[in-house]
Subunit: 303 residues, 2 copies
């Protein structure tokens, strides 16, 4: 079974203002609520691809219940909730001309809840795969370190997709897949890599440290796949970007879905790029049909 | 029966940020949700004072359900919901050093819903009192004008407490009570009144136009009551201001509660000032006990 875990999901409150003045009353007409969380997004795209999976999420309060309902309705996704006190957070994404984000840290997760999460992982089987995505919850800052350590001990394959500063918590526990963008990679390595051959050279250092599959997003230059043997560059697809929200999560879902089916990293990388593109160009999480459409258009170059 | 009507309630999402930079990612730790709306607040304080009343509110979606539940839980207030499509709006109050407000216009109220509201009013009795508070809903910009006209036709006493720019919609329909602050009064009259005798002189013009009871908030200078015969000044009470949210609504509730009991405007004005003070100094809607406490401290001067 493939499991996703979202320890700190959020509802995004997207608002569009004509003007914004600090310390004043501002009015907006356009507003929408987008329940999500990176692991939940991965599960939704896996669902769209017909891949069986279980989406575990820490939820709280009326916003948690709303998230549960909306995921069921929009993606036929039955979340497995772990309920905590407090409300699932609401983050604000305010667009005036550019986007300003206001992110809440989320409800506090107590030790007994986190222990329950570890016990769920202890019951997983060796052929399972665990994808943990998004930020660590309040009260459990070393959650990723503990989960990675446990997966390592259990020889359980895991993927962690987190804000860059958490890389150090799991990188030495042999993650199955890592998906930094170039900025995150540079921040982690304290480098300023730009040229492809440098990126491949230093990316390989991560492979030698135990990362099995590495995908590095290069923005307008496409994305790069590395493992112990191969290096592939996927050129970016042409299209109009509607929203990049969920693109990274779609990439993870695409890679995992195809890898589990074929064990072929090249095919998996193509599916990953197609899934990310389908999300970016549609402005909503990739559907199976859209992924199939973009799959045929992905151009891969072996380096 | 006393009725309150909240045509465009809101949940306030209060967040406290250490820093705020436009077009960047900002994080916040403190956040809280405050369901409310001006008419709902009036009803909650009337409830606290043991005055029977009915709180009619237009609600929508999961945020509407949340507002309903919270009012029941926090104030034993059973709202009479009128459900519309869309979600009850979430407004953002962001405090960095000062407060920045981001207000949504709220869900659209269609004509059939508004017609239903008018029919509720048509069924009210002459001894009833209707308090309509807050902003007009999207889609019904002249809601206040229509309701005031109807109340006038039915000889039904009504109070409207709205953002200043809506005064002109009801001022000629003989409202029972009006409660502008000095800025709102000045904006309405296109004047720049400051001295008490000027304020009383021009305030009386509103009385001559049909306003039965007029309370003008003067900020640090206290507040002023006017009717056809009397003018009273209430000196401000001493205390530490925690939050002025709901102070005006408490003032309306206090005035109405005591007026219905005694028909004495001076006693009603004292109760109004006590209720507003109780809210301002406690940071939550005035309780009966707090109002009683401040009642004895209000100093009224006849002018």
């Amino acid at each position: 079974m493939i499991y996703t875990m979202t320890l700190n999901p959020a509802i995004d409150y997207k608002i569009v203002c004509e003007r914004f003045e600090l310390n004043q009353l501002n009015r907006f007409k356009k507003a929408s609520l987008h329940p999500g969380g990176k692991g939940i997004n991965v599960s939704a795209v896996l669902n769209n691809l017909g891949v069986q999976n279980e989406a575990i999420a820490i939820l709280g309060g009326f916003t948690g219940r709303y998230l549960l309902e909306r995921m069921k309705k929009d993606y036929r996704l039955d979340l497995k909730p772990i309920w905590v006190e407090g409300d699932t957070r609401i983050n604000i994404k305010m667009t005036v001309d550019h986007e300003t984000e206001l992110n809440h840290e989320g409800p506090r997760v107590k030790d007994d809840i986190f222990e329950h999460i570890l016990s769920i992982i202890r019951n997983m089987k060796k052929e399972d795969l665990l994808i943990v995505s998004g930020s660590a919850p309040s009260g459990q800052r070393d959650a990723y370190q503990q989960i990675a350590q446990l997966c390592d001990d259990l020889e359980l394959r895991f993927v962690m997709d987190t804000p860059g500063d958490l890389f150090h918590q799991f990188i030495d526990h042999q993650p199955f897949l890592m998906k930094p963008n170039l900025k995150e990679l540079n921040d982690y390595l304290l480098m300023d890599l730009f040229e492809l051959d440098e990126i491949i050279f230093y990316g390989r250092q991560l492979i030698f440290r135990g990362v099995k599959h590495l995908i590095i997003s290069l923005g307008e230059r496409g994305s790069l796949y590395l493992d112990q043997e191969k290096a592939y560059l996927a050129h970016p697809l042409e299209g109009t970007v509607i929203s990049s929200t969920g693109a990274g999560d779609s990439m993870v879902a695409g890679f995992i879905a195809m890898y589990e089916l074929t064990k072929d990293p090249k095919l998996a990388f193509i599916e990953a790029v197609a899934a990310a593109s389908a999300t970016v160009f549609s402005g909503k999480l990739a559907t199976h049909r859209d992924i199939q459409k973009y799959q045929t258009k992905v151009v891969i170059e072996e380096l």
